[in-house]
Symmetry: C2
Subunit: 150 residues, 2 copies
DNA sequence: AATTTTGCGGTCTATATCATCCATGGCCGT
DNA sequence: ACGGCCATGGATGATATAGACCGCAAAATT
């Protein structure tokens, strides 16, 4: 990973459809060389996948919510992780330091839907205690990308 | 936005380099039609950009941290937002309900670097109180995508 | 009510661009 | 001087993209 690789990654991040010739012009490399570098970066996993960033509103996911979770004392922890991975609404789930055991990031269409999400968590017997934090606005929103199902 | 559009978005999410013919075969549409739909989705902003998902380790960003922030009482709130947008380490910044005013998501190379991040926040006079939460592991990690600078 | 009009979304074809492969050749470090 | 690594350039087959045309359905007109 040298400076040129980083530049290429930066160009692809901004627009993954730019032509090899175009990128090559910006880093003083032939299209073939750029292609070879992208192939390497992809093969070694530095680039995980080519994808698209989506508009949350257009996807019907305008409401961003963080939920702190303390698991129910006799909850199956690995079952919880599988559940989290399978739920489309759960964008992130982290095991964290501090008072709570998990921090979960979810996106739903509107605030009322949060209730259903929590109800499901409780129905699955995962929930001990929880605390819900709603994002009112996002100075830095973070990119919305569909979960990787591979 | 009909079902076909959603399918196309799903295919592109998994691999944005799949050919129009390939996608068309899966949704029973000609390559031209698929192209036209993608053009529409992009033009109306449903698809924000074509980009790449990166490996945090390869990028030297293995440590994921959430920081709860209560702004210093005479901090300039819009200056803080500009600061957050400019900082490369800050992936997300949300104005939230609850005890804290902001939730900030950052990525750094290693835990010691968190200190420098907080020190900078304090030096800028933004920081009132804060609480730092480190992700130990991530059952659902969320995609790492470079910030959009357009 | 029947007919025309309009507009959207599709297919097909042609063309220019593009990614990809391979053989060649330079450069650097040992 | 030699070997490995990386870039180059040209050939080729695939691909995106534009444009002309078609069909259908809803709206408007008579």
């Amino acid at each position: 990973m040298d400076d040129i690789d980083r530049k290429i990654i930066s160009f692809l991040s901004a627009d993954a459809r730019r032509s090899l010739a175009d990128i090559g012009g910006n880093v003083n490399l032939s299209p073939s060389s750029v292609n070879e570098r992208i192939r390497r970066l992809t093969a070694q996993g530095t680039i995980r996948r080519f994808t698209v960033e989506l508009d949350p509103a257009a996807m019907g996911l305008e409401t961003l919510v963080y939920v702190w979770i303390a698991l129910h004392e006799d909850a199956d922890e690995s079952a919880f992780r599988r559940y989290a991975a399978a739920q489309a609404a759960i964008l992130e789930c982290h095991h964290v330091t501090g008072r709570w055991s998990y921090l979960v990031k979810i996106r739903v269409g509107s605030p009322p839907e949060i209730e259903g999400f929590l109800a499901d968590l409780k129905a699955q017997k995962f929930l001990g205690r929880s605390e819900t934090v709603i994002a009112l606005s996002s100075p830095v929103a973070g990119a919305l990308v569909q979960k990787d199902n591979s």
